[in-house]
Amino acid sequence: MKLAQNQIQQLYTFTRQHYVEYYDLQTELVDHLSNGIEEQWQENATLSFKEALQKEFKKFGVFGFMNVIEQHQKSMNKRYWKILVRFVKEWFKLPKLIITLMIFILFFLLLQIKNASYMLMGGFLLIAVFDLYKQHKKRRINKQKKDKKEKVFLLEAMIGGTRNGFSAITWINLYNLVHLTKIDFSNLHIYWLFLIAAIATLLCIAFYVTAYVIPQKAEELLTETYPEYKLV
C-alpha cells in the first residue's frame, strides 16, 4: 500500500509541527517517514496511518528531529561561508582588485587626517541607517511569505537572515575599529593604520557581498544547492 497525496501533505504538516521550519529538510524527512510507514504496512496492513507514523517518529529518539535540524543548520552555515569566501575572493582578482585597492587607499589616507574618526563615523552611520531601512523592508516581505506558508528553503532564509546578522557584525566591528583607541588615528604608527585600513576594507567587501551580491544571485545559488528548487 502506498501513501496518498493527502497523507503526504499531513506528513509535511507533521514535520512543521515538530519544528522543521524549512522545506528542504521537510521534504527529506517526509520521504523517510513515508518509506518507513509503507514498510510497516507491508508487514501489517491493518495498521492506521497515525499509528505507523508515531512508530516511525519514535525511531528518531526522544529529541525527535532536533538533532537533525541542528546539524542541518550547521552544515548550511558551512556552505554559506564557502559561498561568501568564493565571492569575496573575486575582489582580490583583477578587475575588482582595483576597486579593493582604491577602498583600501581611501581608508588609509582618511585615517591619517586629524579627526578622521568623526568623518568615518558619519559616513558609516549614513550607510547603516540606509541599510537598516532596506533590511526592514525585506523582512516584511519575508514575513508575508512565511505567513502564507510558502515553501522556504534554509539557504533562502539564510541569504536573507544571515545577511542581517552579518551586517550587524560589520557595523559593530567598524564602530569598534574607529573607537579602538582614544588617541587620534593620525598619531598611530603607520603599520597600525595599514592594518586597520586592511580590516576595514575586508569588512566593507564582506558586507557588500552578503548584502548585495549573494541576494542578487540567490536564484542561481539555490538551484545549485537544491536540485528540487526548480521542481517545486
Partner: protein, 112 residues
C-alpha cells in the same frame, strides 16, 4: 543489537563505502541496507544518519539529486570526485584501525 558506540565513529566511512558500491542512495535505503548487511546487528539511527549525510554534503564529498517517486520528492546522495578519493583514504584508515585493534585484543590472530 551490538554496541552502537563502537560503530559510531565509523558511520561516515560506512556511508561513503555504501555509496561507492551502490552509486546513488537515499536516506531510508541506507538504513535498510546497513541493517541487511549486518543482519540487524547494526541499526543506523535516523537521528544520526541525516546529520552525517548533511555534513558530508557540506564538506563537498557528496552530491545530491532529486527525483519524483510515488507522488513525493526523493533526495539521492552520490559521491563527488573528492568523495571518491576520500572514501579510499577513510577505508585505509579504518582497516589500519581494525588491524591495530586486532593486535591489541588478540595479538596471535591476523586479519590476512
Amino acid at each position: 543489537m551490538g554496541n552502537s558506540k563502537l560503530y559510531k565513529g565509523s558511520l561516515n566511512t560506512i556511508i561513503l563505502k555504501l555509496l561507492e558500491e551502490q552509486g546513488k542512495m537515499y536516506g531510508y535505503e541506507i538504513t535498510q541496507k546497513v541493517k541487511e548487511l549486518t543482519k540487524g546487528e547494526l541499526k543506523i539511527t535516523e537521528g544520526a544518519l541525516y546529520p552525517a549525510l548533511h555534513k558530508l554534503e557540506a564538506e563537498g564529498l557528496l552530491d545530491v539529486e532529486v527525483a519524483k517517486v510515488d507522488n513525493r520528492l526523493r533526495k539521492y546522495y552520490k559521491l563527488t570526485e573528492a568523495g571518491e578519493k576520500e572514501t579510499v583514504n577513510r577505508l585505509a584508515e579504518l582497516e589500519e584501525f581494525i588491524r591495530s585493534m586486532q593486535n591489541l585484543v588478540n595479538p596471535n590472530w591476523s586479519i590476512e
